[in-house]
């Protein structure tokens, strides 16, 4: 669906050139939700804006639905843009238009008849759940509602691709979830390919099939979300994964525990699936004879399965502990004995 080939974008500035996107190769399949994560300044916005030519590439190809976007100009570019919609962090609605009129905007551009336009707007309002708010102005809407208008507007001309530039970063966690749900819904219902960029790992976890990690204009790691969660290779990726699997308060509690001089080992167990840890815990207690003190446990649902982490403290004599640790090594789980400096 989307293929980027040796794509680069260099911004010439008075302090020298800034390479915002550095020779990126990437393919995104039809119908998937693809996430790009990276810290501020990594070049995510520039990358996504290259996809609909809001930025012109310095070199390389952007092939979407068999067309190289970089070759398009004038009316053929505008035509292609109707198939690649975008939603924005700050919504970018026209304050002078009502919800209805904002959603009608792209339809006016596509020159739909009044009747078709009204029918389509009604459909979209229903799809994004804004029934009853049609005649409100953006200033009268909450952030979540504004983004719903943005989504409806983006879907108006039945695009093939939806680009989301930090679409939930201005929203509170609950509203973020409802918008992410709406996006997943649309992806399923319409088979739309979604490319989203974010700096929040939980957005990736909740809705993406695949993820690319971006740093200094390059993609440093890429793969299915579950794989990346399970086996992050790069430091940068590990940091993002830890945002979810090792929340700061857990780590603080564990460090505190270690400081007390308690020498019983603390083990981090990572597993796939919802209840993979159940039999292991039972066996640890029954066959190894250790007692298991659960410090924290968490199952993170991704789109293609669950991924869990469990922090436990094992108590028993040295022999029992050795037995327990070697038992854990043999299981289909990843274990890591936490040390004080972590």
């Amino acid at each position: 669906m989307i293929a980027l080939e040796k794509l680069s974008k260099i911004f010439p500035t008075s302090n020298g050139d800034i390479t915002a996107v550095d020779n990126i190769d990437l393919t995104i399949d039809e119908g998937e939700i693809f996430g790009v994560i990276g810290y501020s300044g990594a070049g995510k916005s520039t990358l996504i804006r290259l996809l609909n030519m809001l930025e012109k590439p310095t070199s390389g190809k952007i092939i979407i639905a068999e067309k190289n976007m970089a070759d398009l100009q004038g009316s053929s570019l505008r035509k292609a843009r109707q198939e690649i919609s975008m939603i924005f962090q700050h919504f970018n609605l026209l304050w002078s238009r009502t919800v209805r009129e904002n959603i009608a905007f792209p339809l006016e551009i596509a020159k739909l008849s009044k009747k078709d336009k009204n029918a389509r707007v009604d459909e979209l309002i229903d799809l994004v759940g804004l029934t009853g708010r049609e005649d409100a102005y953006p200033a009268q809407l909450s952030g979540g509602q504004k983004q719903r208008v943005g989504i409806a507007r983006a879907l108006a001309n039945n695009p093939k691709v939806l680009l989301c530039d930090e679409a939930t970063s201005a929203l509170d966690p609950k509203t973020t979830d409802s918008i992410l749900e709406l996006l997943t819904d649309i992806n399923k219902k319409l088979g739309l390919t979604i490319v989203l960029i974010t700096h929040e790992m939980h957005v990736i976890r909740k809705i993406c099939n695949r993820v690319a990690v971006m740093e200094n204009g390059k993609i440093v790691e890429e793969g299915p979300v579950l794989d990346v969660f399970r086996q992050p290779r790069e430091e940068m990726t590990k940091e993002f994964v830890k945002q979810i699997t090792e929340p700061e308060e857990t780590m603080e509690a564990i460090r505190e525990l270690m400081k007390t001089g308690d020498t019983s080992p603390i083990v981090k167990i990572s597993f796939l699936g919802e209840d993979a840890e159940q039999p292991i815990m039972t066996n640890l207690i029954l066959t190894c004879g250790v007692s298991v003190n659960i410090l924290q446990g968490k199952v993170s649902k991704t789109r293609d399965g669950s991924y869990g982490t469990l922090f436990v403290q094992l108590q028993g004599n040295q022999e029992q502990l050795n037995h327990a640790l070697s038992y854990l090594k043999d299981q289909q789980v990843q274990t890591e004995v936490m040390t004080a400096h972590e």
């Binding site: 924005f88 970018n92 551009i109 102005y137 200033a139």
Partner: protein, 221 residues
């Protein structure tokens, strides 16, 4: 009433008011059209915008600055040949129009440019991302989104134009300024001057009120 304003000829007064209204109305209309066009050119040719063009931008900015800095009374005199050529005479309300418009349009064009610059760049980008062309962006985004600024700008300009008409009156254009000068000042009838001033004041207040009402109605931010 007639005792206080003993020297006032109410028929003349009414006629002068109509002349002032006529000059102001036509001048506001022409200034609006010319100012919006010039303001759009200033904005669109500026750096980073759709018609980015440094020479055109600088030329437009130079014209605006030059005409904005010429005092109106001098502008009228400078424009005498031009006006005589276009209108055919230097007398009467119509003769004031070229000077009024040329004096006010550059000022209004600046206000238009400032208004357009305040339109959220993200919204323009959103429109582009939906496949809008430049006319869509001008008529569906830039103008509607800057409308309160365009209206408040034309209100200020209209009020300035009313005072310009009074100045134009002094050189024979008619209207309330003319009346105040010839009937009031030159014949020492201070009641006429006072009444003409009051009439202008009322016109200005009504204009401001209309402007404020319109902005209140359309501004949904």
């Amino acid at each position: 009433m007639n005792e206080i304003f003993e020297n006032i000829n109410w028929a003349n007064m009414w006629e002068a008011t109509l002349e002032t209204l006529y000059m102001s109305a036509l001048a506001v209309l022409a200034t609006f059209i010319l100012g919006v066009l010039l303001g759009l050119v200033l904005y669109m040719t500026d750096k980073g915008n759709m018609w980015e063009n440094q020479p055109v931008h600088l030329a437009a900015a130079a014209i605006v600055n030059i005409f904005r800095s010429i005092p109106f009374i001098i502008l009228i005199i400078l424009l005498v040949p031009f006006t005589t050529f276009i209108v055919g005479t230097m007398l009467g309300p119509s003769a004031a129009l070229p000077a009024l418009v040329i004096g006010a349009a550059p000022f209004y064009a600046r206000l238009v440019e400032i208004g357009l610059r305040e339109v959220n760049k993200g919204v323009i980008e959103a429109a582009q991302s939906m496949g809008a062309n430049q006319w869509h962006i001008i008529f569906k985004v830039l103008i509607p989104e800057s409308l309160p600024a365009l209206i408040s700008g034309i209100t200020v300009t209209a009020i300035t134009l009313v005072s310009y008409t009074a100045m134009a009156g002094v050189i024979g254009a008619g209207g309330l300024g003319d009346l105040a000068f010839r009937e009031g000042f030159q014949r020492s009838n201070s009641d006429v001057t006072l009444a003409a001033t009051a009439a202008i004041l009322v016109i200005v207040m009504i204009l401001q009120w209309i402007g404020d009402r319109i902005i209140y109605r359309i501004d949904k931010r």
